[in-house]
Amino acid sequence: MIRRIPGGGGWLSQAAVQALVSLLGASLLVWALLPLAPGDPARRILEGQGIEDPTPAQIEGLRTELRLDRSIPEQYVSWLGRAVRGDLSTSWTDGSDVRTELLRRAPATALLAVTAIALALAIAVPAALLAARFPGRWPDTATRGVALLGSAVPSFVTSLLLLQVVVVGFGWGSTLTRGTISDVWLPAAALAFALAATWSRLLRASLLEALSQPYTAMVAARGASRTRVLVRHALPNASVPLLHAVGLGVGALLGGAAIVETVFTWPGVGRYVVSAVQRRDLPVVQGFAMMATLVYVTVSLSVDGLSRLIDPRLRAPA
C-alpha cells in the first residue's frame, strides 16, 4: 500500500521553492567574492598561464572575453546562467575545467563522508542506548566522559593522533592514502570521532526525555520489557532530533573534510580546494562553495522530509 501523506505534495513543492531561493541567495553571495577580491582577475589569469608581464592589450582582451567590462548586474546574471548550466568556469592557475576537476574528486569525498557518518552512527546509537538504559550508572558515565572528550578534540588533532598511534605505533595502514575503500577507515574514524561524541550526547538526552514521557510508562505498564520500551518507542521518538543533527553534521563535514583530507592526503574535493584557497584560485573556490551549498540544501530538505515521514504531527496542517 502506498503511504499517503496528507498535504505531502504541497509541502514538497513549497520546501523545494524555499530551497531554490536559498540557493539563489547563496549564489549571489558566492559570486560577490569575485568583485570583492583584490586584484584584477584578468591579470591573475594571464599570470597563471605563465605570462609574466601581460600587456594592457592582452588584459583588455581577456576582460572583454570574460565580460568583466560589463555592468555588475550583467556580470552576475551571465555567471549565474553559466553556473545553472553546470559551467563553473576554469581554474585561474592551470586553466582546467572546474566542474570536471570537482566531479573527478567528488566520489572520494563522498566515500569518506558517508563512511564517517555511518561509523559515527554505529558508535553513537549503541552508546546512547546503553547510556539511556542505565542512566547514572557506569555505562552512562563512561560514554558521557568519552563523549565530552570527543567533542573537544578537533578533527586535525584526532587525525594526527591516529597517524601517530595507529600508523606509526602499530604499523597499520599508511600515512598516504589513495582514496580507496581499504584506505578510508582512518580518515573516516578521524571525522567520525567528533560526530559520534556530539550525536551520542544529543541522542542520550532525547532518549531520556522520551523515557520521561507518559507514553513510555504506558507501554511499560502493559508489560513491555525495558529494552522494548527503549528501542521500539523511545528511539523512534528520539530519532527526529538526531536526524537534524546528522543534517548539521553533513554541513560540518563539507568543510571539515578539507582538514582531514589534507592530513591523510586523501584525493578528495577538500584537499583540492585547500590548495586552490592557498593559490587564491577563485573559480575553484566558488565552484566548491556552490557544490557544497547544493549538497547541504538537498540534505536539509531530505532531513525535513524524513522527519515528516517519521513524525505524523509534523504533517498536520499548522
Binding site: Y215, A217, A220, A221, R222, G223, D311, P312, A316
Partner: protein, 303 residues
C-alpha cells in the same frame, strides 16, 4: 477476600528522602471499585506506580500487595511483565501524552499484545475498539493520536488497557483531561470494562457518582476508607470533612478552602500528619500516629 486487591503496610520512599507512602492498608473486594482521593502530593499516584512497578530505580518499597493470589511487589521483573496487561491494566491521565505520537491508534492499541510478545491482527484490534463504542474502528484506528478527539482517545486507551481482560484496572486521573460530560461517560466506560478498579482522582464529586468505595489519602496515608454513601453522608475524619466542605454546593454559599499546606514528607513521622491543619486536634494527635480503625484514622474523634 483472596480474589481482590490487598495492600498491607505499603511504604514508598524516593531517593531524595521523600516518604510518598507511610503505611497504606487497603482492601478491595473482587468486583468492587475504589476511588482514591486527595490533594496533589498526597501519595495517590505513588500508590499506583508502586502497584505497577513503575517507580524509579532506587526507590525503597516495603510492604505487601497481592491481587488474586499474585504478589505485585515481590514479583521479579519477568514475572511482573507477565502480570502487567493481563492481570493488572493501567489507564493514564492525558490520553494524548500516553499514546506514542508516532504510531497510529491501532498500533498503539496493538502494543497491549505486542508488548508481551503476542501477535495480533487488525480484526482483533478493531473489535477491541468496537467494545468501547468507537465508531468505524477499522478506519479511525489508521489515524494518529493527535487526529483523535480527547474523549475518544481516552476510550481508545481504556480499550487498550482492558484488551487482555485484566482483573484489576488501575487508573490515574483518567478524566482530568476531559470536560465534565465526557468525564462522566469515560469513567462509566472504564468501570464497566473493569471487574476490580482503583481510580486515583482529585475530583471527589465525579468519583462519588461512579465508584463503590472511597479512600481518602493524606500525606502518604489513608485517613478514611468507606462505602461511598456512608463516607459522603457521614464523613468522620476532619480531613474528609474539610475536603467535602471545599466543594461548591448549590445554594450552599462559597466553598471553604482548606487552610494551610501539606506537611513536609521528608520529615520523620511524628503524630498525625493532619494535626497542624486540623481544627479539632487534641495534644495526643501530635505525639501518636493514628491507625486506621473502622475505616477512620483519627484519635481526636475517637476519644
Amino acid at each position: 477476600m483472596d480474589a481482590g486487591l490487598q495492600v498491607r503496610d505499603l511504604h514508598v520512599r524516593y531517593t531524595d528522602g521523600t516518604w510518598a507512602l507511610r503505611g497504606v492498608d487497603l482492601d478491595i473486594g473482587a468486583g468492587a471499585s475504589v476511588a482514591v482521593v486527595g490533594e496533589s502530593g498526597s501519595g495517590k499516584t505513588s500508590l499506583l506506580k508502586a502497584l505497577l512497578g513503575l517507580l524509579p530505580d532506587g526507590t525503597e518499597i516495603t510492604g505487601r500487595a497481592t491481587f488474586a493470589g499474585h504478589d505485585l511487589l515481590a514479583a521479579t521483573p519477568p514475572e511482573r511483565r507477565r502480570l502487567l496487561g493481563s492481570v493488572v491494566g493501567y489507564v493514564g491521565q492525558d490520553p494524548y501524552a500516553s499514546n506514542n505520537p508516532l504510531l497510529n491508534v491501532g498500533r498503539n492499541v496493538a502494543e497491549s499484545w505486542r508488548a508481551k510478545g503476542l501477535r495480533v491482527g487488525a480484526e482483533r484490534i478493531a473489535d477491541t475498539l468496537q467494545r468501547l463504542a468507537i465508531p468505524e474502528p477499522r478506519r479511525t484506528m489508521q489515524r494518529h493520536p493527535h487526529q483523535w478527539s480527547g474523549g475518544m482517545l481516552q476510550r481508545g486507551s481504556i480499550a487498550a488497557a482492558t484488551a487482555l481482560a485484566p482483573g484489576l484496572l488501575l487508573a490515574d486521573e483518567p478524566t482530568s483531561a476531559l470536560d465534565a460530560e465526557l468525564a462522566d461517560r469515560c469513567l462509566d466506560d472504564l468501570l464497566s470494562t473493569a471487574p476490580t478498579a482503583l481510580v486515583v482522582t482529585h475530583d471527589l464529586r465525579l468519583a462519588a457518582r461512579h465508584v463503590d468505595m472511597i479512600a481518602v489519602c493524606y500525606a502518604g496515608r489513608l485517613v478514611e476508607v468507606g462505602r461511598r454513601d456512608a463516607l459522603l453522608d457521614r464523613p468522620q475524619h476532619p480531613y474528609t470533612r474539610a475536603l467535602l466542605a471545599a466543594l461548591p454546593v448549590r445554594g450552599g454559599g462559597l466553598p471553604r478552602p482548606l487552610p494551610g499546606t501539606p506537611p513536609d514528607l521528608r520529615a520523620p513521622d511524628s503524630g498525625c500528619a493532619f494535626a497542624a491543619r486540623c481544627d479539632c486536634s487534641v495534644p495526643a494527635c501530635r505525639s501518636r500516629v493514628p491507625s486506621l480503625v473502622d475505616g477512620v484514622a483519627c484519635d481526636a474523634i475517637a476519644s
